[in-house]
């Protein structure tokens, strides 16, 4: 190899630069692995309408179904897997238990860098303030 030394040195420097963000992440947090955000769970209610795993994985699909059932089909009662009925409403059912949007919805959504537009129209349980525009 004619410029072997230079090429290998260059490659090592390149790889080093490539790894800087990863190393930096490890150094600053002490743990490179993603940490699940701590959500504030309702105090007086132990069980959500479906299992935690289901809600974690499927809540967006469920909310989509809820919207269509309530609005389009006029079916505003949801019967869950255990046969228990719930009123289909984001503001009046979900957010009555999860009474702090900032401590529940926002935590994961911010971490995952998603911004659902629910709250453009729906009113968060904390209420709205006239200053924030």
């Amino acid at each position: 190899m004619q410029y072997g030394g230079k090429i290998i040195t260059g490659l090592i420097i390149f790889l080093g630069l490539l790894c800087v963000p990863l190393l930096f992440n490890t150094a600053s947090t002490g743990n490179a692995a993603y940490k699940q955000p701590k959500l504030e769970l309702p105090k007086d209610e132990k069980k959500c309408i479906e299992s935690t795993e289901f809600m974690r994985r499927e809540h967006m699909q469920l909310l989509n179904d809820w919207r269509d059932w309530a609005l389009r089909d006029g079916q505003r009662t949801y019967v869950n897997a255990e046969g228990k009925p719930f009123s289909i409403s984001l503001q009046n059912t979900c957010m009555k238990c999860h009474a702090k949007k900032a401590e529940f919805c926002d935590k994961c959504h911010n971490d995952a860098a998603v911004s659902p537009y629910c709250w453009d129209c729906h009113i968060q349980p904390e209420g709205l303030s006239n200053e924030k525009k």
């Binding site: 059932w69 309530a70 609005l71 089909d73 006029g74 009662t77 709205l128 006239n130």
Partner: protein, 258 residues
Amino acid sequence: MKKSRRNFLKFAGLSAATLCFSPAAGALAAGHGTPHPKPNADQLKAKRWAMVVDTRKLNTDEAIAPLVKACHSIHNVPDIPGNKNIKWLWAGSYEETFPEQPNNFPSEDLERRRFILLCNHCDQPPCVRVCPTKATFQRPDGIVAMDYHRCIGCRYCMAGCPYGSRSFNWGEPRDNLDLKALNKEFPTRMRGVVEKCNFCVERLAQGKLPACVEASNGALTFGDLSDPDSEVRKVLKENYTIRRKPALGTQPSVYYII
């Protein structure tokens, strides 16, 4: 077991029967466990909702104002000064209400009367025909409803509606709402969607009459037009009523007693 022809046929028959019945049995067993939606138990039901306005009782701006307030406060409808206002319920003169039935010498009483105006929830709604996204649609009970999630703000429905019942959110409606006094049980709208009266579907689903009817002290009657014994049909039978712009064939569900 002896391998006889008789035994083979028995076994085959039994297997076929099991195959036939197992899906039904499975469905029966799963019926309880599958999450599903159903209508509210206490909802009010009708084949076609309709309203009758008694303009002999309800005919001044002062009398109409509390009804408008009741509607607009529970539905978080903003009051915007100027020509960008949002209205679900409002008032108009005889000429504005019935432009197809003009009279050059109307009675003084009729000339002074103010008429409450709202979405007519037409049987043949032009707004539903023109909506490109099906954001506005007709429910089986005749209510012309809107899905604000799907509205793209093209305003075809506003061009289609001959009654001016639809309003466009030119700006963020929350900028003109008293955010401390919002009804937290109902959403607001956002910039760029069209909105209108929804005949209080959310209240009907809870077994309550529309807010304006409740606030009207009997001047508004609400009920099922398809039921000959209903309150609205009784009122229609006993009084002379007209509807707005009948020549268009939209078949409004709002009737006015003159």
